[in-house]
Amino acid sequence: MSELIALTGTVVGTYLWRALGVSFSGRINTDSEIFVWVTCVTYAMVAGLVFRIMLLPVGMLAELSLGIRLFASAAGIVVMIWPHKRLGGLVPGLLVGCLIIFVAGLNA
């Protein structure tokens, strides 16, 4: 029951942000100061979440050591920003990072 309440709350809460965006999109200027601030807050919020999951995960990922998680993240980033056209980029970066986690999982 409490799961359903939490889900309903999340569905409504998430949709409200989307709807708020639609209703403001007709009025707010993307060059305005409040918009610049909101964008900064958004990036910081998403970063806070992603770094938290990486550094202090809950669930299965917590079984792997912090060093392995950091190594896999760093390797993924290096491949992502690698200047070579075919060897670098998002998908190769994701593959390398997940492969390291996979190998670490084999030994865990």
Binding site: R18, V46, A47, G48, L49, L56, M60, C98, G105
Partner: protein, 234 residues
């Protein structure tokens, strides 16, 4: 889109590993359609947080949809900016937002809403099979593969941060990434709010300060003769 599909497979596996039902897992993906918020919701439910706190915390992570919507919708043709957007906006995801920002300059305004709606709905359609497959496979799939799939979600967002070009946004990511985990150690429920408001405002303050300083320097560099001389009129 393949990443999104794999992401929802990972989410399905997460739902199974946290001991939630398959219906709950799939319903969350289809109705919320915001992976980070879904992960927060599930992790908080697994930690035993109360329903209201879990719903609030996951809703707070969805705040990014407001600026994301704000930056996408004004590009649509004016005739297309109708009440239908309140339906279209449910299908907005980080992926379709990034694609829209990349492709809209090359697309005529009258084709932007159809393009965006089609791509976004396709992304949304991956959620049901993705999280169902992920959930059902989780029991039979070896641990290393499960780990790799669960890791895919945060890694995807982490790698996307390297594409961010604006200094103020990069600062916001750095501050948020530092404050989020630190606050989480003390007050887990408020870590995202703190990371966003403190980290984001700090980045914005630095952005304003450097911009103001840059403007002052620019004024000082302009030779006095170049400025319109107001004394002549008086």
């Amino acid at each position: 889109m393949a990443v999104l599909f794999a992401g929802f497979i990972g989410f399905g596996a997460l739902g199974e590993s946290l001991g939630l039902s398959v219906y709950m897992t799939v319903a969350t993906s289809v109705l919320v359609f915001a992976l980070p918020g879904q992960i927060v919701l599930f992790e908080m439910l697994a930690m035993g947080s109360t329903a209201i706190v879990a719903a609030l915390a996951s809703s707070i992570t969805a705040a990014r949809f407001m600026p994301m919507t704000l930056t996408v919708m004004p590009h649509f043709d004016r005739r297309h900016r109708t009440g239908l957007l309140y339906l279209v906006v449910h299908f907005l995801a980080m992926t379709s937002w990034a694609v829209a920002m990349r492709d809209f300059p090359k697309i005529k305004p009258e084709y932007r809403r159809p393009y965006f709606t089609g791509f976004s709905m396709l992304c949304w359609c991956t959620t049901l099979p993705g999280s169902t497959i992920g959930y059902l496979m989780a029991g039979s799939v070896p641990t290393p593969i499960k780990l790799a799939l669960i890791f895919l979600n945060p890694l995807f967002f982490l790698l996307n941060f390297t594409e961010v070009r604006q200094t103020s946004h990069r600062l916001a990511i750095a501050f948020g990434g530092l404050i989020g985990p630190l606050v989480y150690l003390v007050y887990p429920d408020y870590s995202l709010l703190a990371a966003g408001l403190i980290g984001g405002s700090l980045a914005y303050a630095i952005h304003r300060w450097t911009r103001a300083r840059g403007a002052r320097q620019l004024i000082q560099q302009v030779p006095l003769e170049a400025l319109p001389d107001k004394r002549e009129g008086t």
